[in-house]
Amino acid sequence: MSTDATLSFEEAMEKYDPVLGFEVHVELNTKTKMFSSAPNVFGDEPNTNVNEVDLGMPGVLPVVNRTAIESSIKIGLALNCKIAESCTFARKQYFYPDTPKNFQTSQYEDPIAYDGYLDIELSDGTIFRVEIERAHMEEDAGKLTHMGGSAGRIQGADFSLVDYNRSGVPLVEIVTKPIEGAGSRAPELAKAYVAAVREIVKNLGVSDAKMERGNVRCDANVSLRPHGRERFGIRSETKNVNSLRAVEHAVRYEIQRHAAVLDSGEPVVQETRHWHEDTRTTTSGRAKSDADDYRYFPEPDLVPIVASREWVEELRATLPEPPAARRKRLQADWGYSDLEFRDVVNAGVMDEIEETIAAGASATVARKWWMGEIVGRAKNADVDPGQLGVQPATIVELNRLVEDGKINNKMATEVLDGVLAGEGTPAEIVEKRGLAVVSDDGPLLEAIDAALAAQPDVAEKIRGGKLQAIGAIVGGVMKATRGQADAARVRELILEKLGVEG
């Protein structure tokens, strides 16, 4: 495979202005498919979540899933779109073996939602408005597995196998208007936009929103134009970029590739590109032979959907708080600084902290545990923090044990590891492992006196204001108490004894 020339991102930005566009496909988490009553379930045995409709058998007819319509309207509303008073389905015709009827039932002239926008917050707090052209309903295709040749790629495969379990899964395709003016923030904006869409559909409860499972898939359009020119350049469409990181990288790469093509004086080819995570590059996708002419026409087997204003308002009333408003409210409620809050958001533990607070922890305690302990462990385990297995109740209990002076912070982290290892509840682990702090100050004061006496020079430094020296004394006390003492309490007592402000 030949590799394309690229320009450095900085040089590309000096010369060109990127214009972006996104088509994000969201798989709805309805119980059944868009047009058939077969289950919408991920990962089962091939060709078992299908009936005659999903296989495009002769004689079958589609019937629309009401819940899928409601989910689509909710998505439209959350994207600040207008909801069509009346809309229809259309057939988009192309032959491909994963498409059982050789047409996709989609929407064409009149999508269910149109003319919306999303305000995207970038990492420095800048708000960038992305305008939404439309959100339309359609059905997913089956899954092709390419056999023979190398690594499951379509190129060089000897044959392919088709599983139609995914065929007919409801999709909402969200299409942006051309996004201008992002400049060098384009890759970051791309990632933030897709993240925002994912957050919205997850909050709405209409999608499982797992990118790694393809619940949210992004096609990214990129074109460049010289600075100052109004007319758009020729775009490429990079298909199925399926992680947030990949979205950022793919946009960045395409900007660099386009810049090199334009610099060479050649025109950019309007085509689909495939993203390769391994090499972090795109390659040219073969143009589908029918791509120039989908022969759309109104689906004669389905009747129009009329969304009465009452129905739309009923659905609007069920919408959760918009993500931006929710963030603002949570930050104010929790009293986090901008930086603290942004770290929480970037670490992906905002929901978890909210749940932990709801379970009874303070905002400070919740942040301390999630940001201080759990995020790091999740990173090591290569999973989302929320997926690590820590329940809000666990944190509340751990914290109570510390506050009651039953264990110290060091022990608490040990107990957390025990919980993650499946040894039981924090209380059980404290019991089993024989962990308990020495809580009576009497023995502690004795040990502190002994430690201060043993290191008079250190005691002097602390008195002189060198607080960082206190560790040596605390260490001595902990050693004497075989780690059973509450280090924070020891520190307090030392400072008290020496008459120093902490």
């Binding site: 005659e52 002769p58 004689g59 032959f95």
Partner: protein, 518 residues
């Protein structure tokens, strides 16, 4: 016991009556029709109405009905009126346990894993299914010559066409191989075969009978309907198969009218019958025109008022139909690609990609008429032509509907000859698609507008002694009106003839090779 030769000539209503009275068993009835099929359907000069005969299952269902009747009690009481009366099913309608070919090589040997809704309803009514009937490939044609399995012959003259696409269902009923059959009508495929075989056929209001399981040709035009020898029999069958189906989004939610009562009551006193100016006269065979006038005369005598209506936009109906039908068909037939079911043909040379396999499969699996319509439809939908062709044709639909609306303000039913000619000779129009298409000139407007239409035999044309069909049309959802008027006209005509028209059909001689073959 009734003589089998008499038995097969009874109407479905009469058979049902005898079954209820215990004068005959369903096994005897079913066997009589199976014997008739064996006698006249096969061989070189056979009718060839059936593509598949469902002997064992039909007899098993018949035996089941007989057992229920013999046992008596609630189960016997609850039996459908047509329980035990056998039926033939057009091979465009999918059935578990029997092959479904759509008359095409591309589906040869395919067995559906599901039943069409109408088939489920036949099974629920415990009607033995005799088998699957021949048709133009994917219902595309007006002569049944476009079947991949050889043409069906007209029982009135074995050298002539039985009409199409449902020539198999019409011929089976006309040849006394079945008392009833199911057809599908997209542009006249129930009514035109009915006309040329001297049988009754009804295209119900669009949405009145579920399309689920009828292999689609043109989704916005297709309707399943009854084929029979009497108007009452069609009403009885319509009652079994009709009514709302949640599997068909275009199925009407309305409850079915009492169609059977309408056929039994029959009354035309004070009825306004509209002659459609554009659907008779020029282009219509003289003998057809004469028999049409006979029917008008009889209706007038019976107290109906005859009025003339004009439907000026009908002149565009054929053109609109030949844009909408192939457009939808080109899309509906895309699924036949050699991937999931049916034929797969590998290209003879060159790269063996799935694209090429699809292309080779469809080239080998589809006949000329199907290819013609797919290409025409692909053209009509393609970029740059959509508005002029498909879009304009949909506007013509609106105009045709408006013509009907206007006509139904001055007439309760409309009347016309069903087909412009009697049955033509096999092969006569095979190489002239346009001439073939003109056969549907009088039936197509009803499909475009979704209104119901019924054909019944109107007598024999003077010049060739072949059956002529009379078409009645009613406003959408007024199917009952067709049965009421149709039953009256039928009884008036039969009184004039001294019996059913089919009694005048020539006797079909069982051929020796037929009997050896079966």
């Amino acid at each position: 016991m009734t003589d089998t030769n008499e038995l097969i000539r009874l109407s479905a209503a009469q058979l049902a009556e005898k079954l209820r009275a215990g004068e005959v068993t369903s096994v005897e009835v079913t066997q009589a029709f199976l014997d008739r099929i064996a006698a006249v359907d096969g061989g070189e000069r056979g009718v060839n109405a059936f593509l598949h005969v469902n002997t064992e299952e039909a007899l098993a269902v018949a035996a089941e009905v007989d057992a229920i009747r013999a046992a008596g009690g609630a189960a016997a009481e609850e039996l459908n009126e047509l329980a035990g009366v056998p039926i033939a099913v057009k091979d465009l309608i999918v059935t578990i346990g029997q092959p479904t070919t759509a008359g095409s090589k591309i589906l040869e040997g395919w067995h559906s894993p599901y039943d069409a809704t109408v088939v489920k309803r036949l099974r629920a009514a415990k009607m033995p299914i005799l088998g699957k009937t021949n048709l133009d490939e994917f219902a595309m044609g007006s002569s049944t010559e476009h079947s991949a399995y050889g043409p069906t012959r007209n029982p009135w003259d074995l050298d002539r066409i039985p009409g199409g696409s449902g020539g198999g269902s019409a011929a089976a009923v006309a040849a006394f191989e079945a008392p009833l059959a199911l057809g599908t009508d997209t542009g006249g495929s129930i009514r035109q075969p009915g006309a040329v075989t001297g049988t009754v056929g009804v295209k119900p209001t669009y949405g009145s009978v579920s399309r689920y399981g009828a292999i689609a040709m043109a989704s916005s035009l297709d309707q399943i309907g009854p084929v029979s020898r009497t108007v009452l029999d069609s009403a009885l069958l319509h009652h079994v198969i009709g009514g709302h189906d949640p599997f068909d989004s275009t199925s009407l939610p309305d409850p079915l009218d009492d169609l059977v009562a309408a056929a039994r009551v029959g009354n035309v006193e004070g009825l306004r019958v509209g002659i459609i100016k554009e659907l008779h006269g020029e282009g219509f065979q003289a003998g057809v025109e004469n028999r049409f006038n006979d029917s008008l005369e009889l209706l007038k005598e019976a107290g109906a008022e005859i009025v003339e209506v004009s439907c000026p936009n009908f002149q565009y109906a054929l053109g609109a139909y030949y844009l909408i039908m192939p457009s939808e068909a080109s899309s509906n037939l895309a699924k036949f690609d050699g991937v999931r079911y049916g034929l797969r043909v590998l290209p003879e040379d060159g790269p063996m990609t799935i694209e090429r396999v699809m292309g080779a499969t469809r080239a080998a699996g589809f006949g000329d008429e199907v290819k013609r319509r797919i290409i025409l439809g692909t053209y009509a939908l393609s970029a740059g032509y959509y508005d002029a062709y498909y879009g304009s044709a949909q506007k013509v639909r609106t105009l045709v509907q408006r013509d009907f609306d206007a006509a139904f303000t001055v007439a309760d039913v409309l009347i016309s000859p069903t087909a412009p000619t009697t049955a033509f000779k096999l092969g006569e129009k095979l190489n002239d698609p346009l001439a073939m298409y003109l056969n549907d000139i009088a039936t197509i407007p009803a499909n475009l507008a979704g209104v119901p239409g019924l054909t019944l035999p109107g007598g024999l044309a003077d010049e060739d002694g072949l059956p002529v069909g009379i078409q009645l049309l009613a406003p959408a959802r007024q199917d009952a009106r067709l049965y009421r008027v149709g039953a009256v006209l039928e009884s008036l005509l039969e009184a004039k003839w001294g019996g059913p028209l089919l009694a005048q059909a020539p006797e079909l001689a069982p051929s020796i090779e037929t009997q050896e073959a079966k």
